[in-house]
Subunit: 301 residues, 2 copies
């Protein structure tokens, strides 16, 4: 059986590889690191970049453990337990409004009940893309990459995890998706008919797909020119990103509820965001076109 | 017994008076109104101003009713019920960083259980002040006004509601208060040893205190000069305001959970906000001085 230490070790290495890859992609930005420990157990390494391409980006590794807060073990339908959680979390806000925001999270979770009767483990994760301006061909390319990763492990995972992402990365109060989605999965374990090693392999492939998938998006968007209008729209789209993360994102909530390091959890916030009361883009404009594509169930592939 | 219709009517009039008062205070801005109805019952009038003093401000009146969502009646410890809620909600974001953000809410809530066995009513509300730069004398003046209102109704209310505000307007994940506080109260009913009319009178006085209390703060801050540095700090403080409202504010959560009108609920969002990773103000600076005062338990009066 693969140990939690081995999984955490692999995630730590993934953070290193992703940071190197993103520095290369950015050209000039360099990650700065903060190491932190959590009073109740564990800690992590938060890395932040401000570069030429990436205006504000965070790549966080953590491995934390301790008693599980009551509201969490109840929400999970588990008896009073200790937990161990490790993973890598990323959000990148690019300077150019023509380049999408991207997010990835891969994680492993283990619980040990205090009575010793019920222990559980699972993997979870997801990648999703939030273009300020949706380009259907780029969305398709992104989904094709994720489909390739999924297909090499299970014929039904892409369809299932794509739908899961549509449902998860959804702003209920706006009735709109966060972007063009991607994949999302949670609580993957033996019940999938796969071994722990096999599921871990899948999660590894998701993690390793991150840099090439984003590099492609950057390559497509970066050459495009933009002006004040596009920057304004970017600031408005970023405020939707804030709303999703603070209102709906379970990872943010879990982090805050388990007294995680606030600055590491909120690394996902954009550098600047704007709210305009009751704003809606001019009919027929590129902004309106994007708005119309922010809905569930679009098959990009 | 005062009817819910009479209470709603009074709140509607309060909105009118406050809007007139704020237009006068602003000098050039005029409120624009959106009337809306809620599919499940009721509706409201949202009014928004963009002016010379107030960069983005919202004054919302609503009177809504319908079946109470399950998670809400459970959280309130009530049987399955219909609810009626009416009130006025205000958040004002001034242009000048030397003028504080202000918030007020006054509300009335009534429930009728489906079995007819348990009906309840209560008033709630609060005013709190969020200076970008805390000036102790101005905070004191603000609290004195609120203390006057409370003292004329109950000798212990100011102390109790001031503490309640410290606890409520608190960013747990930052271990800091939203500003210099004010008063907060909820579920006030006969259990206070006061009649419904008496409690309503108190709520009326709170509502009427809003414009003069803010006018005083504007008068104190408006003559002060500021530059890029202060605007930068304002944008950072505004992002804390966003965090509070989306992560902790029960009114926002209630509004979204009962499918309220999103644009009216999120009128409280600032026009622009910035997040900087792990920012902390220079020791000894005015910003650091404000940061140090963002804690519970300061007796401003």
């Amino acid at each position: 059986m693969i140990s939690k230490q081995a999984i955490a070790e692999w995630f730590r290495g993934l953070q290193d590889r992703i940071c190197r890859g993103l520095e290369e992609l950015d050209g000039t930005g360099r990650f700065a690191e903060d190491q932190w420990t959590r009073p109740e157990g564990g800690g992590g390494r938060s890395r932040v970049i401000e570069g030429a391409v990436i205006e504000k980006g965070g790549v966080n590794f953590s491995a934390v453990h301790g008693p599980m807060p009551e509201r969490i073990h109840q929400a999970l339908g588990l008896p009073p337990s200790d937990f161990f959680a490790t993973g890598v979390s990323i959000v990148l806000h690019p300077r150019s409004p023509m380049v999408p925001i991207i997010h990835m999270n891969v994680r492993y979770f283990e619980t040990q009940s205090h009575s010793g009767t019920k222990n559980t483990w699972w993997f979870g994760g997801g990648i999703d893309l939030t273009p300020h301006y949706i380009v259907q061909e780029d969305a398709r390319r992104f989904h094709l990459r994720l489909k390739d990763v999924c297909d090499s492990h299970h014929p039904e995972w892409y369809a299932r995890f794509k739908k899961w992402a549509d449902d998860y990365f959804f702003l209920k109060h706006r009735n709109e998706t966060r972007g063009v989605g991607g994949i999302f999965f949670d609580r993957l374990n033996e019940a999938e008919g796969k071994s722990k090693a096999e599921i871990f392999d899948f999660v590894k492939n998701v993690g390793e797909a991150f840099v090439p998938a984003y590099a492609e998006q950057v390559a497509a968007g970066l050459p495009k020119t933009y002006g004040q209008r596009e920057l304004e729209w970017q600031a408005l789209r970023r405020s939707r990103y804030v709303e999703f993360n603070l209102l709906w994102d379970k990872g943010t909530r879990f982090g805050l509820d388990t007294d995680g390091r606030t600055e590491s959890i909120l690394m996902s916030m954009p550098p600047l965001a704007k709210w305009k009361y009751n704003h809606s883009p001019e009919p027929g404009s590129p902004e309106a076109e994007t708005q119309e594509l922010l809905r569930k169930g679009i098959e990009w592939v």
